[in-house]
């Protein structure tokens, strides 16, 4: 099934209380691709991401992940809802990293990483611990494995969250604004880990406002606005040479913001040096 895209979404619609958030999204992501979803807040990109691993149920359209229809089974042309257990199984193939990290606060970093492999996959604790330490080392936190999340900085917490998702050996990683809740000086360490992950050939869908990351790492960027895909393509085309007015104005606004942010960061760093 190598010719089938890893994620194949067709005409996905979703409404919250009558408010249509997704108005027919089509998206194909090939295995090994890094796709960045860009767009203003309220454009539906986070909702779409959450639909891929069924944290939200879709109202219309279909999503296939690795050739398997998400959430439903097609029996003789009639869709049957999958039981919760099967949905949980489908989610195991997909890692997710949240904006607010969502680490389990009552567990240490290594326990966070070990939890799902032990409880869901039935791995032995020794095995899960060994692999967990490997992953924490990979995200540069091998020496922090016995810390509780509250004892870690935001950037460290997010890196633990990435290690936790990777511990399930997912085929696909979803990132929901992974750096938006971080202090500016901590963004870099998380992006570095994500860049490293992209280099290993992991398939990634990233909702982000980090234009630098999108430009350098993404194979494809998708610009969404008002619940539809406005344009998509190679990052140099969409970011450097946007075809649509909406894309242009969004990018201009982002540039202004990041310029302001950079100035604020420089000011802060200068203040700290005094």
């Amino acid at each position: 099934m190598s010719d089938v895209p890893l994620v194949h979404a067709v005409n996905v619609t979703k409404a919250f209380h009558g408010n249509e958030v997704l108005k027919g999204i089509d998206l194909d992501v090939e295995a090994g691709q890094v796709v960045c979803l860009l767009g203003p807040s309220g454009s539906g990109k986070t909702t779409f991401l959450r639909c891929i691993n069924q944290l939200e149920d879709i109202d219309g359209g279909r999503i296939w992940v690795d050739g398997e229809l998400a959430g439903y089974e097609d029996r003789n042309g009639r869709l049957h809802r999958l039981p919760d257990k099967r949905i949980a199984q489908q989610r195991r193939e997909i890692g997710m990293v949240f904006q607010r990290f969502n680490l389990f606060p009552h567990m240490t970093a290594i326990e966070n990483v070990m939890e799902a492999p032990v409880r869901v996959k039935g791995k032995s604790k020794g095995e899960a611990r060994k692999r967990g330490l490997e992953l924490l080392n990979r995200v540069g936190l091998g020496d922090r494995c016995d810390h509780y999340p509250a004892q870690l900085s935001g950037g460290q917490q997010q890196r633990v969250a990435i290690a936790r998702a990777l511990a399930m050996d997912p085929k696909l990683m979803l990132f929901d604004e992974p750096t938006s809740a971080l202090d500016p000086e901590l963004v870099g360490e998380v992006l570095k880990v994500m860049r490293g992950l992209a280099d290993t050939g992991m398939t990634m869908i990233v909702v982000t406002h980090e234009m630098g990351f999108a430009r350098e790492v993404a194979d494809m960027v998708v610009f969404m606005d008002g619940g539809v895909v406005v344009e998509q393509g190679a990052p140099r085309d969409v970011i450097n040479n946007p075809q649509h007015e909406r894309t242009r104005s969004f990018l201009a606004r982002i540039r202004e913001e990041s310029a302001e942010e950079a100035a604020a960061l420089a000011e802060k760093m200068a203040a700290e040096q005094i």
């Binding site: 919760d84 989610r91 680490l103 009552h106 509250a150």
Partner: protein
């Protein structure tokens, strides 16, 4: 700017003219000293009463406390009764809380009706009813299909699998524990529900995203965090339950401390000293429970940066502040 503000006093005397370590006169708290005087007076009055009033008969109190029926009643009715009733109450209460939060309207509504019913019944009344339940089944309680007796009469096959002496079953500790436990579950359900709702929704989502099912994420992720909110009120409930075991008289259950002490009092006509004996026992057991509760809170508070140890230090600092007006 006048000269006096520019020239800084230099009490540390390191001579460079820059302000040194602060050694200020603390704020005085005359109100605290007044309060201490009033309280000391009250304490002295109570001590006077306890020591000089011969009606207390302290020797008798001490002896009553260690009579073997009293100790036995303390261990069985009071302590074991509390432990088992709370076990039933917490376990069933968590189930009810999960039912209340379920998507299934039948489960939700059933849990609500349960809570409504058991919260409305006073425990003494409930326990009296438990003790009298045998009245419903004078020929023994049959375990089997509903309407088994009628089916038997109409068609022949008997769907009754076992028959129990209902009177024996519901009188005694079993009936008491069931009654108190069922009543407690109604209160624990609300406590557990508040605890579950206090856990951030993102926690559940993170568990789901890792492929954990509903049961697993509830057990491993949500409930352990909910415990932080659930434990303190549960400690209060346990202490309240300890005291409510004195209601086991409603069953009536004889192997219970307060009942035994009162019995001694009515036999010897020394009614007041046995009440004092009961108070002392309740004080002792409650103190132990409070220590256990503090330990539990520390255990479930891990990872949240809440440190009961620091709180104790804070208390001490405040006590010291009494004299010196130190930092608060």
């Amino acid at each position: 700017m006048s000269d006096s503000t520019v020239s800084v006093p230099d009490p540390t005397g390191d001579g460079d003219g820059r302000p040194g370590r602060i050694d200020a006169v603390p704020v005085r708290h005359p109100g605290r000293w007044v309060a201490i005087a009033v309280l000391a007076l009250i304490v002295a009055m109570i001590a006077n009463l306890l020591i000089t009033n011969s009606a207390f008969e302290w020797d008798f109190v001490r002896q009553a406390m260690i009579q073997s029926p009293v100790i036995n009643g303390l261990l069985v009715g009071t302590l074991l009764g509390t432990a088992l009733a709370m076990l039933v109450g917490v376990a069933f209460g968590v189930v009810l809380a999960v039912m209340r939060l379920s998507d299934n309207p039948v489960l939700r509504y059933s849990a609500w009706v349960y809570t409504w019913f058991f919260r409305a019944i006073p425990r003494l009344v409930l326990l009296t009813i438990m003790g009298a339940l045998g009245y419903l089944w004078p020929d023994g309680l049959g375990l089997g299909m509903p309407f088994a007796h009628e089916l038997h009469n109409a068609f022949g096959p008997d769907f009754t699998f076992a028959t129990i002496n209902a009177n024996k079953l519901f009188s005694g500790l079993f009936g008491g524990v069931v009654g108190l436990g069922l009543s407690e579950a109604a209160y624990m359900a609300e406590i557990a529900r508040a605890g579950i709702l206090s856990v951030e929704p993102g926690q559940r989502e993170a568990a789901q995203a890792l492929g954990m099912g509903n049961g697993l994420s509830m057990r491993r992720i949500v409930l352990p965090q909910a415990m932080r909110v659930i434990v303190p009120p549960t400690g209060n409930e346990t202490i309240a339950m300890l005291k409510d075991t004195s209601l086991l008289i409603g069953i009536p259950l004889g192997t219970e401390m307060f009942f035994q002490l009162e019995a001694i009092g009515s036999r010897t006509y020394k009614v007041f000293p046995v009440l004092v004996a009961a108070v002392i026992w309740y004080l002792i057991v409650c103190s132990v429970l409070m220590i256990l509760q503090a330990r539990l809170e520390r255990h479930f508070g891990r990872g949240f940066g809440s440190k009961p140890v620091a709180r104790e230090q804070g208390v001490r600092a405040r006590m010291l502040g009494l004299a010196g007006g130190g930092p608060r």
